[in-house]
């Protein structure tokens, strides 16, 4: 027994006593209204004390271990997952396996599971889109769900009034998302960090409130029903076949998103985003237009939200403003932060975990959201960089690559 251990035990003891004191009124005192007496349940106090002591001890132990690991990690550089991702001999077979799994998934599992997976993949797409804004360009956007709503209502309304099909509206939804991204991005160009978050949060709510109250346009809280699923060459598909078809569409869209974001990160535009996140003033001094670069990020991020919205409307067949509350924005932001800001694989894992976990926790009933919250808090304490922390892939220069231009 060395000093630090004793110290930790002392701290846990204090925590236990504090908890016993705090919970005293609810755990110990019980007023019996019939006999008009007070039951003193001292046993409960003992349980609280012992429980709090052990939980606190475990908590402290984990924190200690994390600190130790961190020191070790700094020496070693990358974690195992990150290494697997970067070494081609591992990453290629892993990708192929994942693809095969994605292809056979709807044939292995029930339609219910496929539906859940479609929602999860929509969130993957949203997470990847928001990742452009938050992870790459460093702009904290809390109103992201507004663009999701724009896409969903674009499909619902264009289909209702003009009979436009899924494939026509998909790019239109993306385009409308981008337009709204620029419209809402323009006024907030000067804001940063918390201020930006608050104003974008406001914008998100404005869009929802408009949808809720402008009955002639959006049918208010009643929403729009009977939104058709995508057609396949005019074939008459059964509901389950349509669901599977939609599943493949969203899988393809996710792959497309990953491809585009990969290309963007390695480009002149992507570099400008990183530079802007690092230092705005130096960035401008290098001739980069701050406004244009930020608007590009807003617009591109919103494009994916718009397309995600179209798929969402097609999936649920019914939308109303209640699907687009601030809570959705928060969840999407959580997938990005918990997954690993800036990291594509991280965001995908984060979205899958955060959407699938609550689904499969339904058995826990009312404890579902508490468990969900606890998982998030634990994540942020033990892995603040997200599940898969982003290691930016830097441009690696190889000597002999250049043919020495003299500019």
């Amino acid at each position: 027994m060395n000093m630090p251990v004793l110290n930790e035990i002392k701290k846990s003891l204090i925590a236990a006593i504090w908890f016993m004191f705090l919970t005293f009124p609810i755990m110990v005192i019980k007023v019996n209204t019939i006999t008009r007496t007070i039951d003193w349940r001292w046993k409960n106090m003992m349980y609280t004390g012992i429980g709090a002591f052990f939980l606190s001890a475990v908590w402290r132990y984990m924190l200690r271990r994390k600190e130790k690991n961190q020191n070790a990690l700094e020496k070693e550089g990358l974690s195992i997952v990150q290494k697997i991702l970067q070494v081609k001999t591992f990453s290629i077979p892993a990708t192929v396996l994942l693809l095969i799994f994605a292809i056979v998934f709807p044939h292995l599992f029930s339609m219910h599971q496929t539906n859940i997976m479609i929602s999860a993949l929509i969130y993957v797409m949203l997470g990847l889109g928001l990742n452009i804004v938050v992870g790459l360009a460093g702009l904290l956007d809390l109103g992201y769900v507004a663009f999701f709503a724009v896409g969903a209502y674009a499909y619902a309304l264009l289909n209702l009034h003009f009979g436009l099909g899924f494939w026509t509206v998909l790019p239109v939804g993306g385009f409308l998302g981008a337009v709204f991204g620029i419209l809402l991005g323009y006024p907030v160009l000067r804001l940063r960090g918390d201020y930006l978050a608050i104003v974008t949060l406001g914008f998100g709510e404005i869009i929802r409130i408009i949808l809720e109250n402008w009955n002639e346009f959006s049918f208010g809280p009643a929403g729009i029903a009977n939104i058709p699923k995508p057609e396949l060459f005019g074939l008459d598909l059964s509901l389950s076949a349509k669901t599977i078809y939609l599943y493949y569409i969203i899988v393809l869209l996710v792959i497309f998103t990953v491809f585009v974001i990969n290309r963007l990160t390695d480009s002149r535009i992507g570099r400008a985003w990183i530079a802007l996140k690092d230092d705005e003033i130096a960035c401008q001094a290098m001739g980069i237009d701050k406004a244009k670069t930020k608007l590009r990020a807003f617009a591109l991020g919103a494009t994916w939200a718009g397309m995600g919205g179209v798929v969402f409307a097609a999936k649920t067949a019914f939308i109303n403003p209640a699907s687009f509350t601030i809570w959705e924005s928060v969840i999407i932001l959580c997938t990005v932060v918990a997954g690993g800001m800036g990291s594509i694989v991280g965001v995908i894992c984060g979205a899958l975990l955060l959407i699938l976990l609550p689904e499969y926790l339904r058995d826990f009933g009312q404890f579902r959201m508490i468990t969900f919250g606890a998982v998030l808090v634990l994540m942020m304490v033990f892995r603040p960089g997200g599940m898969i922390e982003n290691v930016r892939r830097t441009y690696q220069f190889k000597t002999g690559e250049t043919n020495d231009i003299h500019s």
């Binding site: 480009s267 002149r268 990183i274 530079a275 003033i281 290098m286 441009y395 500019s407």
Partner: protein, 262 residues
């Protein structure tokens, strides 16, 4: 001699504080000029004004742009000033910390390249060619400044002196006609400063870039600059060749205690 930068009666107020007071300054093409003065004289504020970071209270700034025409650049945004051909470094180093040395210089190439979102996604021949051009150009600038051994290193991991040089490399990547250096030798040891001398001369001689530098190291200033401008409390108190400044009575008074005869 044709001038490249013409500043007339520039004035800058911070509330009640007049940081720059009716300052006139001209830099000629291909010239190495120095701006010196005691701490808080308003030198950095002057740079911030002419590069568009601060908005001057009064006065005119003219820059001879790439096309040879003289343009008024008051109130222009910093990125546009850079595009017109005036680039700068920062006194408190402002490198992009999550990027490598090469990537920092590649950012400098931003204003002279064009690839947009579509180019990034489709990676067509023109974009690939441009990317190659950016890499080649950046590497050759690193070579000029003898930084090529750090090429893939993160910028923050560089020694202090090398970070100062990298700031210059990054600014050079914007293809400037006039380079503004804010205390490039600060924190360097005498050997490094000596090398910096040679590099500044090399940049001017090989690329024909005019240079205006703020510096407290009088040895360096006296050795390389052709014209020296002295400011104190935002006012110009002297201008001339190193020889003239050395013997300028007002300047000597302002610098009382500081050894400019070094």
């Amino acid at each position: 001699m044709t001038s490249i930068l013409d500043v007339k009666n520039l004035t800058l107020d911070f509330g009640g504080l007049r940081a720059i007071d009716h300052l006139n300054l001209t830099v000629n093409k291909g010239e190495i000029a120095a701006l010196i003065g005691p701490n808080g004289a308003g030198k950095t504020s002057f740079f911030n004004c002419i590069t568009g970071i601060y908005k001057p209270t009064a006065g005119e700034i003219f820059l001879t742009c790439r096309n040879g025409e003289k343009e008024r650049i008051n109130g222009l945004k910093p990125n546009l000033v850079t595009r017109k051909g005036m680039a700068r470094t920062f006194q408190n180093i402002r490198l992009f910390s999550s990027m490598t040395v090469l990537e920092n210089v590649m950012i400098g190439c931003h204003s002279i390249t064009h690839a947009g979102i579509l180019g990034a996604v489709f990676k067509d021949a023109a974009t690939r060619k441009e990317e190659k051009y950016i890499v080649d150009k950046s590497y050759s600038i690193l070579k000029t400044l003898e930084l090529e051994r750090f090429v893939n290193e993160l910028a923050v991991n560089l020694p202090y002196g090398a970070q100062r040089l990298l700031e210059i490399a990054r600014a050079m990547a914007t293809d400037p006609q006039l380079l503004l250096l804010d205390e490039p030798a600060a924190g360097m040891n005498p050997t490094e400063t000596r090398r910096l001398d040679d590099m500044i001369l090399k940049i001017r001689d090989e690329k024909g870039i005019a240079i205006l530098l703020i510096e407290h190291d009088m040895k360096l200033v006296m050795r390389i600059s052709e014209t020296i401008h002295v400011v104190d409390y935002g006012k110009k108190i002297g201008e001339g060749t190193p020889e003239e400044i050395r013997n300028h009575p007002v300047v000597i008074k302002a610098y009382l205690g500081e050894d400019i005869h070094a």
